[in-house]
Symmetry: C2
């Protein structure tokens, strides 16, 4: 035990969970927000922007990349990271869909 039983859920459910999980840490939320703020990929100073050691930041970046939330390209001895708008769109659409469904129905409880 201890491992998530991904095989018992739908691909879509797993996809949303993966994206959400990646954002399930304040450091990774902060990284996303910083990438939006600077609006460029030459982000060689992410480490200085976060209250974490360099290896930890590197690890968080890796997780964001694995989840598909950011894209990274090697650029000289610096790395060029930026947000993958596609992933943000997926999340936006998902919650919009939920919102619509919730609003459509008169909820008669709680």
């Amino acid at each position: 035990m201890g491992a998530t039983k991904t095989e018992n859920f739908t691909t879509k459910q797993n996809a949303i969970a993966t994206l959400a999980k990646a954002l399930g840490h304040p450091a990774r939320v902060a990284i996303m927000e910083y990438l939006i703020k600077v609006n460029t990929c030459i982000c060689g100073d992410i480490v200085n922007e976060l209250p974490l050691a360099q290896p930890t930041v590197s690890q968080h970046l890796k997780e964001l990349k694995n989840a598909g939330l950011i894209k990274g390209n090697i650029e000289g001895n610096a790395i060029c990271y930026c947000i993958d708008e596609n992933a943000v769109t997926k999340l936006l659409n998902y919650f919009a869909q939920i919102s619509i469904k919730l609003e459509k129905k008169k909820r008669n409880c709680c």
Copy 2:
């Protein structure tokens, strides 16, 4: 080490991370989707809808509730769970805001 350094991030960043983390597991995504589908709070059969044992489901429900994504009321010997629309709205707004910011700026990289 091993514990998230929440104190070094903003309240808002932690709030988003908490909500996202709660959805960072396919079982909890499935629970949310089931609650939307049935559109009622008399949800005494959630356990039967999931490929997990009863204690595990109960634990996931607890986490969703702690994160504020669902509300629960005791109703006889059953529990009445339903989605907290407020939380969904928070997430929707957050990603909408990001989307707007990304679109506003012509991205010149990646």
